[in-house]
């Protein structure tokens, strides 16, 4: 059978979702941001909620997320995405609202906004991309940088005696009564992506229920900041990030008691 006979519209099984714009992604080769953008947009496409979804972009590598996602979006000041989302969701309660934030944005400068939005039980979704480093500004230490891990502001590795400990903010927000669904995912293998996409779908479905905040952490890579190629970075992530930030659901909705 000739390739030409396979590549026909009727045989199409996977194509880039049209909810991603044609603009080439500004991320480094192999960066998980692109995959995470894509699965969020795929879920919005599958649920047919493009006209009802409003996203908030952060400051950091994904500051330009609005250039790639074909939905209405706002770009927030550093760390304040959840404050914007709080207002939008309260004024437009029938819309789907999500924030998309990195570790510096969400777990350092925006810690107060993150925790209070979670604690108030705002009915939007937080997508938290944790790669343990500040990518945009050139590889500085993040609140989630692992002990011993090197970054440009801890060139000899993070010494927790001097620099403090990495913050497991996902476990932290799971303790709050306002969060409804908290899970930690990754997008480095096909199976991980498929699981992560299910989690994204769950979050959007749950946010219809108005029962609280849905929080998805993606443990992701930063091959530029980690100074590896993409494949090495994914392997390093499995060996080093996952033991500290284990994948899986942290808080799942309990079935209603009858």
């Amino acid at each position: 059978m000739d390739i030409k006979d396979i590549i026909k519209p009727e045989n199409l099984v996977y194509r880039r979702t049209p909810l991603l714009t044609d603009k080439p992604l500004s991320y480094c080769p192999g960066c998980g941001h692109g995959t995470i953008h894509r699965i969020i947009m795929e879920v919005i496409e599958e649920m047919n909620i493009q006209d009802k979804t409003i996203g908030i972009a952060p400051v950091g590598c994904s500051v330009l997320a609005y250039e790639f996602m074909d939905i209405d979006m706002q770009q927030a000041a550093h760390g304040r995405a959840t404050a914007l989302a709080t207002a939008i969701k309260r004024l437009l309660p029938d819309r789907f609202v999500f924030t998309y934030q990195g570790d510096g944005d969400l777990a350092a400068i925006g810690t107060a906004e993150t925790i209070h939005a979670c604690n108030r039980g705002e009915n939007f979704i937080i997508f938290f991309v944790n790669n343990g480093i500040y990518g945009m500004t050139g590889g500085q230490m993040a609140p989630t940088t692992l002990p011993g891990m090197k970054a440009s502001t801890c060139p000899f590795g993070r010494d927790t005696k001097i620099m403090g400990n990495p913050l497991k903010i996902t476990e932290l927000v799971a303790q709050l009564p306002g969060t409804y669904y908290v899970t930690r995912q990754a997008v480095h293998t096909p199976n991980a992506v498929r699981k992560a996409k299910k989690a994204v779908r769950n979050a959007f479905e749950y946010s219809k229920l108005n029962k609280g905040l849905c929080f998805i952490e993606f443990v992701s890579n930063c091959n530029s900041g980690w100074k590896m190629n993409a494949v090495q970075a994914n392997k390093w992530m499995e060996e080093n990030m996952f033991p500290f930030y284990p994948l899986g659901d942290i808080k799942v909705p309990q079935p209603e008691k009858v």
Partner: protein, 359 residues
């Protein structure tokens, strides 16, 4: 005639926000303006007009909630006092950059730093020269009565949408805390979502199939496009100066000496003018109602008829700089004012007129 009530300035502002059809209020307590959120929480407008009222975790969160609301086409309001306004300044700069409507009330207290909780007018520079970073201006209204704490909400609403720019009501602890009779305007219904989308086609309400996606941002990494954007903002500020300067003149037609003041200082100066006239001193007062755009043109005209001008403000001299720039050395311009939360008396101002202007 509208409904009459005896109210604090802060309460009048809160009630006016509900009546003006403001869509949301996000605040954080700080003396001397906490009555605003207390009044709103007690009035529960979310049960009547649907106005959202929320006490945020900080001034920073509250201003960014305003950003989100305004970006979705709604009119938000927030209030604070000097130290809290400093915290909001980043968000205000972002909102000016993203061209978003907003009503901000600053009930100014003495400072710098934590200062005290008494009335002051020492945030003039912050309010009129930007305050946050970057090339931007706020439209700044200065009420001098509880009545104006209510009325100016309507002006602020109109201007915020006319220019897609934040509007600051620069009040102070006197106006915020004192009680006066207020005639309240009749309630205006909040816009429906359809009306919001019609008035604000740029708003992020959800991308409809018949339009491009809407993006609210203050970021543009291309310097040539950023320059174009900043110049577009500049044109708006120039237009404000052409079309929306507001001031009030008191006994200026025959004045030989002129006071320039705003807010509670202007009320004190009004008494000074009366005292001066009793003594036969031809003193007049120009009360600036908008501090940006500044009524500098009118002050320059009046400079041709008077022998000197005294800028009276509860600070060590901020408004006075704009007065000097306006008259361009054509007449002597002096400053008088108490600061740090101390309020000058009409007699002190009259003494300053005699000692500085008439010496």
């Amino acid at each position: 005639m509208g409904e009459l009530r005896l109210m604090k300035g802060n309460e009048a502002f809160a009630e006016a926000c509900i009546r003006a059809g403001v869509d949301a209020y996000f605040g954080y307590p700080i003396t001397p303006q906490s009555e605003v959120i207390e009044y709103l929480m007690a009035a529960k407008p979310y049960e009547t007009t649907g106005m959202v009222v929320l006490q945020a975790e900080s001034e920073i969160a509250s201003i960014n909630m305003c950003y989100g609301a305004a970006g979705a086409g709604f009119l938000p309001a927030t209030s604070s006092s000097s130290p809290g306004i400093s915290l909001k300044m980043e968000g205000i700069s972002y909102m000016a950059g993203a061209e978003l409507p907003l009503i901000i009330l600053n009930v100014v207290r003495g400072g710098p730093g934590l200062g005290d909780i008494q009335p002051a007018q020492s945030d003039y520079f912050q309010a009129t020269k930007g305050g946050g970073h970057g090339d931007y201006r706020l439209y700044v209204l200065a009420p001098s009565s509880v009545q104006e704490m209510s009325d100016f909400v309507l002006i602020a609403k109109e201007i915020a949408f006319k220019y897609r720019n934040p509007v600051m009501i620069l009040s102070d602890g006197v106006i915020g805390q004192m009680m006066e009779k207020v005639e309240l305007f009749d309630p205006i219904p909040r816009r429906t979502i359809e009306e919001v989308e019609k008035q604000c086609p740029w708003a992020t309400t959800g991308k409809k199939p018949n339009r491009q996606r809407n993006i609210i941002t203050s970021l543009d990494l291309d310097p040539y496009r950023q320059e174009k954007h900043v110049l577009k903002l500049y044109e708006k500020y120039k237009r404000m100066e052409q079309e929306d300067v507001r001031y009030e003149e008191i006994q200026v037609s025959d004045a030989e000496y002129l006071l320039v003041a705003y807010g509670s200082s202007a009320r004190i100066c009004q008494k000074t003018v009366d005292l001066a006239r009793v003594e036969g001193i031809k003193l007049g007062l120009l009360r600036a109602i908008t501090l940006f755009p500044f009524p500098g043109k009118r002050i320059a005209e009046l400079a041709k008829q008077v022998k000197g001008i005294l800028a009276v403000e509860m600070s060590t001299g901020q408004l006075v700089e704009d007065v000097k720039l306006s008259v361009n050395c054509s007449v002597p311009v002096y400053h008088f004012g108490r600061t740090g939360g101390v309020i000058h008396t009409p007699t002190e101002v009259l003494d300053a007129v005699k000692n500085l202007l008439m010496k």
